[in-house]
């Protein structure tokens, strides 16, 4: 059995005696018998070697795909080796929240740098230190927009369905009216938008590129929402911002998104990173931790957690959110990734992803996988499938390729900079094989 308790049996006995006790059982004198448990039905403890064997065996039961054409909310990008090396430093891994600024400048400064990078990426004024994931970031952003005069969110049905699910859960509990804005041809329906804005929601939630990879017609939607007095929350893919117009340039009030593409492994869904940034007037409504710059008693520049009176440990039930932690190590990962890539590298990742996706779309259309819409897209797109999509996907998986996600009787494909031409050609060759096999049947 592995034990991380340093004290020996003899030392424990000496400590007990100093307290006038004979056994550790006496330490639990306040626990009534009915609340106790004698022995837990757990396996016997194991040595480290046995645990490594057991967990490695579990990892071995999973299939790791090296050729991944699936996105839909989680993206496989190249992660420079320096990112993992830096973020594995034990100080960053093991520290708690930087409440004691004097011995936490490393974490505090890294969050300040992260906040600056997120502002630069999104074109917004203020960023928080991150929240749990893109979905909770979106839900928290909806809460930021609610006030005594206006409530409710009009959420584009073209957003990621899991994000919409989380938003629905949050809204239901706080009594915030949630309305789904219907889609037309895989993008927001402008007529429906105009109609539904009449009911006076507090905000419009829009994702760009949307769940289907389509670039929404963002500007008219932002302008229509603002003209109707609603705020605009724009959810974005951070890699796309190496290239695409920012939420700030569109005039959005809040930018949110899933930060996983910024140097975080897919890790079967987590830990991830929700980023949130807003325009200056909304700063005090931003939930979560925020790091600010100040000076110390010796006159040096330094960093502290600030604007804390917004938060739950001070405002308690009147706080705008209950969030206590952030995803600090994930935020640092994103920050190191962005610093390593630089503006040129990020642009290259965005351009390569888009280029690969467009090349794949062309190749697929020759095989009879027509695009479901002719609207412009970034690095994801939805196609028809000449055979049963589930069947096709299973056959490709057996060939070691994780294809796009079966969706709406078609397939939602994704490319990143990792899906280079040979890999795409490998995919299309494999698809051809499957199609020929199917035709032969």
């Amino acid at each position: 059995m592995a034990s991380y308790v340093p004290s020996t049996k003899a030392e424990r006995q000496t400590m007990l005696e100093s307290l006038g006790l004979v056994s550790t059982a006496e330490l639990y004198h306040d626990v009534p018998p009915a609340a106790r448990v004698e022995t837990l039905d757990l396996p016997e403890g194991k040595s480290e070697l046995e645990v490594v064997d057991a967990i490695t065996a579990l990892a071995g039961k999973n299939q790791v795909f090296h050729s991944v054409f699936r996105g839909a909310g989680a993206y496989k990008h190249y992660i420079p080796a320096v990112v993992k090396a830096i973020t594995s430093r034990e100080e960053f891994v093991t520290a708690y929240t930087p409440y004691q600024a004097e011995i936490s400048q490393g974490v505090l400064q890294s969050i300040f740098e992260y906040q600056t990078q997120i502002c630069e990426l999104t074109g917004m004024d203020v960023s928080n230190a991150s929240v749990y994931d893109g979905a909770t970031a979106a839900a928290e952003a909806v809460f930021m927009c609610q006030d005594r005069r206006r409530t409710g969110v009009l959420a584009a049905a073209t957003a990621n369905p899991q994000v919409l699910d989380v938003m629905r859960t949050y809204c239901e509990s706080r009594g915030v009216p949630f309305t789904l804005l219907p889609a037309k041809d895989y993008a927001v329906d402008p007529d429906a938008l105009a109609e539904q804005l009449k009911s006076g929601p507090a905000c419009l939630f829009l994702q760009n590129p949307n769940y289907y990879g389509v670039l929404e017609d963002v500007q008219p939607a932002v302008d229509a929402a603002h003209a109707a007095g609603a705020k605009v929350i724009l959810s974005v893919n951070p890699i796309s911002l190496g290239l695409l117009k920012t939420p700030g340039e569109y005039g959005a009030d809040i930018a949110v998104g899933e930060g996983q593409p910024l140097g975080l492994p897919m890790s079967f869904g987590g830990p991830y990173l929700g980023f949130m940034a807003c325009k200056q007037p909304l700063m005090r409504k931003l939930p979560g931790r925020i790091v600010g710059q100040t000076t110390d008693s010796r006159g040096n520049r330094c960093f502290v957690l600030t604007l804390q009176a917004r938060e739950q440990h001070i405002r308690r039930e009147k706080a705008s959110s209950n969030i206590c932690s952030n995803e600090a190590l994930c935020a640092m990962t994103a920050s190191v990734y962005l610093a390593a890539m630089g503006p040129g590298g990020l642009r290259q990742a965005a351009e390569s992803s888009a280029s690969h996706a467009h090349y794949l779309a062309g190749q697929l259309s020759e095989l009879g996988f027509g695009l479901k819409t002719s609207k412009p897209f970034f690095h994801e797109f939805l196609t028809d499938c000449p055979v049963n999509p589930e069947l096709l996907c299973r056959k490709l998986e057996a060939k070691g390729i994780l294809p796009g996600l079966p969706l709406e009787s078609g397939i939602l494909w994704c490319c990143t900079e990792l899906n280079r031409k040979p890999q795409i050609d490998g995919l299309t060759a494999a698809i051809e094989e499957v199609l020929q096999d199917e035709a032969a049947v």
Binding site: R284, A309, I314, R315
Partner: protein, 127 residues
């Protein structure tokens, strides 16, 4: 402790001053600002908001605390002191000049204290 004789006061440490136009200016007392410490921010009401006597109309933040400001009267916010957004320290430095809001159309008032009564109230609160 500074308690100007010409003002009225509440037990929640707001001061109240009758303005020439019939509205009332509201602020926090010297006693309140000392208790709060360095004030770093105020959440102001909006002009046109209706407020109710005894209910929160604003809140002030120090670094590690937040406190409600209660309206002593029922009425409508006629003006807010936007300068406090930029310089909340005015509430520490000159509490009786740093009015928070002016309230018009007053229809009800909670029990108000004279300067002398307020002084007695504060010294009993301190014990």
């Amino acid at each position: 402790m500074n308690i100007p004789a010409e003002l009225k006061y509440t037990k929640s440490h707001e001061w109240l001053k009758a303005e020439a136009d019939g509205s009332y200016a509201i602020g926090l007392t010297d006693y309140a600002q000392k208790q709060l410490g360095d004030i770093v921010f105020i959440n102001l009401p909006a002009e046109g908001d209706t407020v109710t006597a005894g209910e929160a109309m604003a809140d002030v933040e120090s670094v590690k605390a937040v406190s409600d400001v209660f309206s002593p009267v029922t009425g409508t916010i006629a003006a807010v002191n936007e300068d406090l957004m930029d310089e909340p320290q005015q509430m520490n430095q000159a509490p009786y000049d740093a009015w928070i809001a002016k309230i018009g159309d007053v229809t009800a008032t909670e029990e108000l204290l004279s300067a002398k009564e307020y002084e007695t109230f504060c010294s009993s609160a301190k014990e």
